[in-house]
C-alpha cells in the first residue's frame, strides 16, 4: 500500500534525491523546503512519515518533530543532519526520532530507515 512520506530539506537536489529513493520503495512523496511549509503539509496531508533535515530556514527539525508529535501523535520522524555532534544525536534520540542519519548518508541506510519507520504500525 502506498503511504505518504514528507521530505523536508532546503536543498532542492537533496529533496529530489530522497524522493526518488522513497518513491522507489513504492510510496508517495511530499516535498517541503522550510519549517512553515512542512508544518502546513503535516496538518493538511497527514503524512505517514516525515524525513527532515535539522537545519531549516524558519525553523528546525526539532520544531517539526514537536509539531508532528502534538498534532499527529505517533507519526514517525527521521532526522538528517550535516552538522553532526554526539550531543545532537543524543538530543534527537531523546526527542523520539525514529532514525538519525548523518549527511552524507548511504542510500541503503535511508531506505532501511524508511522501511523500518513505516513497518511499525501507528498507534
Amino acid at each position: 500500500m502506498a503511504l505518504k512520506v514528507l521530505v523536508v530539506d532546503d536543498e532542492l537536489d537533496l529533496v529530489d534525491t530522497c524522493a526518488r529513493l522513497i518513491e522507489g520503495l513504492g510510496h508517495v512523496c511530499l516535498r517541503a523546503f522550510d519549517g512553515p511549509e512542512a508544518i502546513e503539509l503535516i496538518d493538511s496531508e497527514q503524512p505517514d512519515l516525515v524525513v527532515t533535515d535539522f537545519n531549516l530556514p524558519h525553523g528546525d527539525g526539532f520544531g517539526i518533530l514537536r509539531h508532528a508529535n502534538e498534532n499527529s501523535p505517533g507519526i514517525p520522524v527521521i532526522m538528517m543532519t550535516g552538522y553532526h555532534t554526539a550531543d545532537m544525536a543524543q538530543a534527537a534520540s531523546e526527542a523520539g526520532v525514529k532514525a538519525y542519519l548523518r549527511k552524507p548518508f548511504m542510500t541503503n541506510d535511508l531506505m532501511q530507515a524508511v522501511r523500518n519507520a513505516l513497518a511499525i504500525p501507528r498507534q
Binding site: 536543498e11 534525491t17 529513493l21 537545519n55 550535516g82 553532526h84 554526539a86 548523518r102 549527511k103 535511508l110
Partner: protein, 453 residues
C-alpha cells in the same frame, strides 16, 4: 670571679676591664706611695692606709661599672645579630627571588630563591655584574637600561613592553618578571630586584590562547561541516543511484568503478569536516563503564563489508575476561575508527587487520591492539605520527591520530605505535581498567510468573 665562670677561659671580655682597673690601682698606689714618701718623710702609714682603701674601693666600683656596661653592650649586640639573622631568614624564605645591586650594577646580595632559580651559588653571585643573569645577547642592552634607571630611580616593574628573560648557570633561559625598588644608603644608592619565574604562567597563557583559537576553529568547522555535507550528501546519493542503474543495465565495469571512486571520495571529503568539528568541540564527555570488546564488535559491523571489498580480512582475538574501562563511547569509537581507517589505507593491495584485546597486569590496565600487514612506517615518520596536522597521505587531514592520542590521554591511557617497514604497523591502546568492587552473587529471587487470565 664567680659571675664569669660561664665564660670560656681566655675569653677577653672581662680581662680588659680588669687590666684597666689594675693599671688604675698600680698608678694610684704608686702615686700615694711616692707623694707620701716625699711629703711625710716615710711617716706615711696611717694616712696611706686611708688613701689605699679609697683606691681599692673606687677600683672595685669602676670595675663593676665597666663590666655592667659591657654586658649591656654584649646583649644588645646579640639582639642585633639575632634580628639580622631573622631578617636574613625572611630574605631567604621569600617565594620570590630577591637580589640587591649597587649603583655600579654589582650584586651585593641575593636570596636562596635566586640561587635556586639561576643555579649559581651565593659566592659566585656576590660582586658580579647583574648582567650575568641575563642572556648574552641582551647584556649590552641591559647595561643601558640600568644606567637609565639609575638616573631616575623609582620603584616600578622592569621592562615595559619587553619580556625579560633570565639565564641560568647552565645557559638555559626562562621568562621572568622583575620589579625594582631603589634605596638611598650612606654607601650610595642600591636597587632591589624582585624576580619571579613566570614559566608556568606563560604556559597557562599559551594554553588559554590556544583553546580560544580552537573555539574559533570550531565555529568555522561547524559552518564548513554543514555547508559541505549537504552537497556531499547529494553527490553521494546520486552516485549510488547511478551505480544501482548501471548494475541493473549491465553497463561496463569501468563505469561502475568510476562511480564508486566518486562515491568514496564524497565520503572522504565529509570526514575532513567531521574531524575538524571533533578537533574543536569542547570536550564534554560522559564516562561510563564500557567493554572494549563491545566497541570492537560494533565497529566491525561498520567496517567488515567495506574492508572485504578492498580485499582486507579482519581477524579479532577478544579476551572474554576483559575488565571494563571507564570511557566515553563516542570518543573511543572515534579512536578505533581512526585506527581501522589507517590500517585499511595502509593496505591498498589488501591484507589482514588483527584486532586484539587483553588485560595488562601492571598496572591494572586494558590493552587493545590494531595490527595491519601494510607497508609500515619509517622511524622518522613514526615519531611524528601523532602530531597535529602531520600526515603522510595525500588525502589525510593530519587530525585523526592527533585526536586519538588526545582521547587516549583524556582517558588516562596511552596510544603507541610500533612499525617495521615492509612488515606492517601495530597501534597499542592502553587504558586503565575500571576498578570494580568484588561482585557479590545476588541471592536468586523467585520471580513470580505473570499469570494469564
Amino acid at each position: 670571679m664567680t659571675f664569669d665562670s660561664a665564660r670560656p677561659p681566655g675569653s677577653e671580655w672581662y680581662s680588659r676591664p680588669l687590666r684597666l682597673v689594675l693599671i688604675y690601682v698600680i698608678v694610684g698606689g704608686l702615686w700615694v706611695g711616692v707623694s707620701d714618701v716625699i711629703q711625710l718623710n716615710f711617716a706615711f702609714f696611717p694616712i696611706a692606709v686611708d688613701r689605699l682603701i679609697f683606691i681599692a674601693i673606687t677600683a672595685v666600683l669602676s670595675y663593676i661599672v665597666v663590666r655592667e656596661n659591657r654586658i649591656v653592650i654584649e646583649q644588645s649586640r646579640a639582639a642585633e645579630n639575632e634580628s639580622a639573622a631573622r631578617i636574613r631568614a625572611y630574605f631567604n624564605s621569600a617565594a620570590e627571588g630577591l637580589i640587591v645591586v649597587d649603583s655600579q650594577g654589582r650584586i651585593v646580595d641575593a636570596n636562596a630563591k635566586v640561587v635556586q632559580m639561576f643555579g649559581y651559588t651565593e659566592p659566585e653571585l656576590i660582586g658580579q655584574p647583574i648582567e650575568m643573569l641575563a642572556p648574552e645577547r641582551l647584556r649590552g642592552q641591559h647595561g643601558g637600561y640600568r644606567a637609565e634607571y639609575m638616573r631616575a630611580p623609582i620603584s616600578r616593574p622592569m621592562g615595559f613592553g619587553r619580556d625579560p628573560v633570565g639565564r641560568r648557570k647552565d645557559g638555559s633561559e626562562f621568562p621572568i618578571e622583575v620589579s625594582l625598588s631603589y634605596f638611598a644608603t650612606r654607601q650610595g644608592g642600591i636597587v632591589t630586584g624582585y624576580i619571579t619565574d613566570v614559566t608556568e604562567r606563560r604556559q597557562l597563557e599559551f594554553q588559554s590562547r590556544r583553546s580560544e583559537a580552537m573555539a574559533a576553529i570550531g565555529t568555522v568547522a561547524a559552518g564548513v561541516a554543514h555547508e559541505l555535507n549537504n552537497p556531499l550528501a547529494i553527490i553521494s546519493a546520486r552516485a549510488e543511484l547511478v551505480i544501482a542503474e548501471a548494475s541493473n543495465r549491465g553497463l561496463p565495469d569501468q563505469l561502475l568503478n568510476d562511480l564508486q571512486v566518486i562515491h568514496r571520495n564524497a565520503h572522504r571529503a565529509s570526514r575532513v569536516a567531521t574531524e575538524l568539528l571533533t578537533l574543536a568541540r569542547t570536550p564534554q564527555k560522559s564516562h561510563k563503564p564500557l567493554n572494549l570488546n563491545d566497541l570492537v564488535n560494533e565497529i566491525m559491523l561498520l567496517f567488515r563489508e567495506q574492508t572485504a571489498r578492498d580485499g582486507i580480512q579482519i581477524e579479532t582475538a577478544l579476551d572474554p575476561q576483559l575488565p571494563p574501562v571507564s570511557g566515553d563511547h563516542t570518543a573511543l569509537s572515534q579512536v578505533l575508527t581512526n585506527l581501522l581507517s589507517n590500517a585499511r589505507e595502509a593496505m591498498p593491495a589488501g591484507g589482514i587487520i588483527r584486532m586484539k584485546t587483553c588485560s595488562a597486569a601492571q598496572p591494572q590496565a586494558v590493552r587493545l591492539t590494531v595490527e595491519d600487514t601494510g607497508n609500515g612506517i619509517p622511524d622518522d615518520a613514526a615519531a611524528k605520527i601523532f602530531d597535529l596536522f602531520y600526515t603522510t597521505k595525500s588525502t589525510g587531514t593530519g587530525l585523526g591520530l592527533w585526536l586519538s592520542k588526545r582521547a587516549g590521554r583524556e582517558h588516562g591511557g596511552t596510544i603507541e605505535v610500533k612499525s617495521q617497514v615492509g612488515q606492517g604497523t601495530i597501534f597499542i591502546v592502553t587504558l586503565p581498567a575500571l576498578r570494580t568492587e568484588p561482585e557479590q552473587t545476588p541471592d536468586p529471587i523467585a520471580i513470580p510468573q505473570a499469570g494469564r487470565s
